[in-house]
């Protein structure tokens, strides 16, 4: 399998703090890759560096062959991103926000695509409501829709299930599984291990900026080891 995301000794420091410390990893095409770790372990910083939103201090990163450090705009053109915080612009309505994203990304036929997402994620009644007046769950649905509006080959998603109800969580998880089956790649950052165990094919564990482990969820299952036990054990030993 070809790797679609690759990092080599990727590092980000803020003064004395090493937020991400020499992380080298590779994500294969068609995988649902889970980047796991406790709060503050460097997951969000990794996504931001991979997509060129912040600059790495050292090391290198590549997404779909584009250099994240030198050409972040190109990376953000080809991937979909769900950021950590669900904060769409306050005074646009949901449908305007999707139009806004479509115009920035040069996506044609946005009305039809937006309507599909409104129906699929069950918030068509909120499409003319201002983003600032939406509930957190609805905002999360909106952020999910904008990330997949242009059918990206790769989506980098940061805690996408937070604030969603169980019905919607099931729907989103099924969507992600199908998306990967169709040959696309998902880079999921989460600290909810049950979700990772349920949907991820591959995983990496980050702690205090350092990469502790990479592996396949299937292999753990074959050994009869739960991901959360493995995770806790690894953290205790580190």
């Amino acid at each position: 399998m070809a790797s679609v995301i690759r990092t080599d000794n990727l590092t980000k420091t803020y003064g004395e703090l090493r937020a991400v410390d020499s992380v080298s990893l590779s994500v294969e095409k068609g995988s649902l890759f889970g980047l796991l770790g406790p709060n503050g372990s460097g997951k969000t910083t990794m996504i931001k560096m991979l997509t060129g939103q912040i600059k790495a201090t050292s090391g290198s990163a590549e997404v779909l062959g584009h250099d994240s450090l030198k050409d972040g705009i190109k990376v953000r053109e080809v991937v979909g991103i769900i950021p950590e915080q669900e904060t769409p612009p306050s005074f646009l309505t949901s449908s305007e926000y999707l139009s806004f994203v479509a115009k920035i990304r040069n996506i044609e036929g946005i009305e039809k695509k937006a309507d599909w997402w409104f129906d699929y994620l069950d918030f068509a009644d909120k499409k003319d409501v201002l983003c600032k007046d939406l509930s957190r769950g609805t905002r999360q649905k909106l952020m999910f829709a904008q990330a997949f509006l242009h059918n990206p080959e790769i989506a980098l998603i940061d805690e996408p299930l937070i604030n969603l109800d169980p019905v919607m969580q099931r729907k989103v998880k099924n969507f992600l599984k199908d998306y990967v089956k169709a040959g696309n790649t998902i880079f999921l950052s989460t600290h909810i291990l049950e979700i990772a165990e349920d949907i991820c094919t591959d995983f990496a564990i980050l702690h205090k900026g350092k990469l502790l482990h990479t592996g396949k969820v299937g292999e753990l299952k074959e050994k009869g080891v739960h991901l959360d036990d493995f995770f806790m054990d690894l953290l205790e030993r580190s």
């Binding site: 997509t51 939103q53 912040i54 600059k55 705009i73 190109k74 953000r76 053109e77 991103i81 950021p83 915080q85 904060t87 769409p88 612009p89 306050s90 005074f91 646009l92 309505t93 449908s95 305007e96 139009s99 806004f100 994203v101 115009k103 920035i104 990304r105 003319d128 409501v129 201002l130 600032k132 007046d133």
Partner: protein
């Protein structure tokens, strides 16, 4: 209550000091002190040219104006709560889970802000005069009295606008009614007595400085208390309206603006201005009101200026104030709301500069009104060129220095120092030139060249900076 207040105060300090370092922020009031200290040595010179009362009006009007520009909490209402408190990292946000009403929370926020501005601006300014007093043979009584009256002027301006903006948030019609009543009362008193008499009541603290009386002090304090009390009564932190549905404006507006490269971002800016109500609110409170006040004060110093002095001075001041429109445009939401899209910071800044350009119609209309009323219509074009040149120059300077965070970055002492060191001489030279000959106002257009260069280098600078998600 006090714990909450102290925590908010500490937080405000840390928010600024972590952005540009403790020293850079702590030096800001020191700089204001130094300016006032050095300015005090010019007092004997200015006093030879100007009557004490007029001088008092000019100084007090500046602090009243500062209060006016700070005090528009009311228009922002719930938006302030969302924007400032909506960040989970702020104490005020976590305090919402405590048994404290939003009104009390907001009150803490307002008092903290007032005290903050007071420490940053009013106190160091007065200390500058106080320390300079012995060097210019001035009795210590005057700087101390100035400290009192300037504080009153600042609080009066702040409370007047706090009340007006709170009324505006409740009902726009009520605001227009109140403003009309104030104007009519001012006109009637001006006609019956004199404009100086009317202004002395409008600027009670200035009057108090010239002829101090305990009754005058009591009236000033009472006025501030009543205005503040009414503001808090009218202020509503809650949005009681039901869920509203809006027509999609983005497509049609960006279509209309399609001749611009960043039409989508520009259309978004206009939608923000339109739907938030901040566009009209800020135009009234941060633009029209301060400029009318300056116009009024200037009419008293008219005798010291050439024939077209008021128009050209107002053109320059309008240009500087108009440049703050850029600050409004950067405060609707965080860029992190769409920075994960394939956008450069320079594209966002450039779009805001385009929106800014369209909004320059506001100072142009204001100058047209001034030109007609002051009988200087023949110099209208000169004043427009002057105003817009200053405005675009200041915009470029802000872009270069502050990027998308002018409201915060200006408190970085280095940024502020560069800002005033560049702006001050430019304004003085331009005013000097226009006083020599009105035709020289056209020379100000030359400033667009360094403005363009600064803008370009600003784009380059902010695209290479690490975006922190402010």
């Amino acid at each position: 209550m006090l714990t909450l207040f102290k925590a908010m105060f500490k937080e405000e300090w840390r928010m600024h000091s972590t952005l540009f370092g403790n020293l850079n922020f702590a030096l800001f009031p020191v700089l204001i002190f130094a300016i006032a200290f050095m300015g005090a040595f010019l007092l004997p010179l200015v006093h030879n040219m100007m009557d004490t009362f007029i001088l008092s009006i000019v100084v007090h009007a500046q602090f009243l104006l500062m209060g006016v520009m700070v005090g528009s909490f009311g228009i922002l209402g719930k938006e302030v709560m969302n924007r400032r408190f909506g960040q989970s990292s702020l104490i005020a946000y976590s305090a919402r889970s405590l048994p404290v009403s939003e009104r009390i929370l907001f009150l803490n926020f307002v008092v903290k802000d007032i005290l903050y501005y007071f420490i940053l601006w009013v106190l160091p300014f007065c200390m500058g005069f106080l320390i300079a007093a012995p060097f210019i043979n001035l009795s210590i009584f005057w700087p101390l009295l100035l400290f009192l009256t300037i504080s009153l002027a600042f609080l009066t301006g702040l409370c007047v606008v706090f009340l007006l903006s709170s009324v505006y948030a409740v009902s726009k019609r009520a605001l227009y009614l109140v403003l009309s009543l104030i104007l009519v009362a001012f006109a009637v008193v001006s006609i019956l007595y004199s404009p100086v008499f009317a202004l002395s009541y409008l600027l009670l603290p200035a009057n108090l400085f010239v002829s101090f009386s305990y009754s005058g002090l009591l009236i000033s304090l009472l006025l501030i208390f009543v205005l503040f009390f009414l503001s808090v009564v009218f202020y509503s932190p809650y949005d009681t309206s039901s869920e509203k549905h809006y027509k999609n404006l983005l497509n049609s507006w960006s279509e209309k603006l399609s001749f611009l490269k960043d039409s989508t971002l520009v259309a978004k800016d206009f939608i923000d201005l339109y739907r938030s109500g901040i566009g009209i609110g800020q135009t009234i409170f941060s633009f029209i009101l301060p400029l009318c006040l300056i116009w009024l004060v200037m009419s008293f110093v008219n005798q010291f200026l050439p024939q077209t002095g008021i128009l050209f001075t107002l053109a320059v001041v309008s240009g500087v104030i108009a440049s703050t429109i850029y600050t409004w445009l950067t405060e609707f939401d965080s860029i992190s709301a769409y920075y994960f899209l394939p956008l450069r910071l320079s594209s966002v800044i450039s779009a805001k500069a385009k929106t800014f350009t369209v909004l320059q119609a506001v100072p142009v209309i204001f100058l047209a009104v001034v030109a007609v009323i002051s009988g200087g219509i023949g110099f209208f074009l000169n004043s427009v060129v002057l105003c817009l040149s200053v405005s675009f120059f200041e915009l470029a300077l802000m872009v270069r220095l502050c990027g998308l965070s002018p409201g915060t970055m200006i408190y970085n002492v280095r940024v502020f120092l560069v800002y005033i060191l560049v702006t001050g001489p430019v304004i003085l030279v331009l005013l000097g030139l226009t006083f020599i000959s009105p035709a020289l106002a056209y020379l100000s257009a030359l400033m667009l060249i360094p403005a363009w260069l600064m803008m370009k280098s600003g784009f380059k600078k902010w695209d290479s900076e690490d975006f922190t998600g402010l």
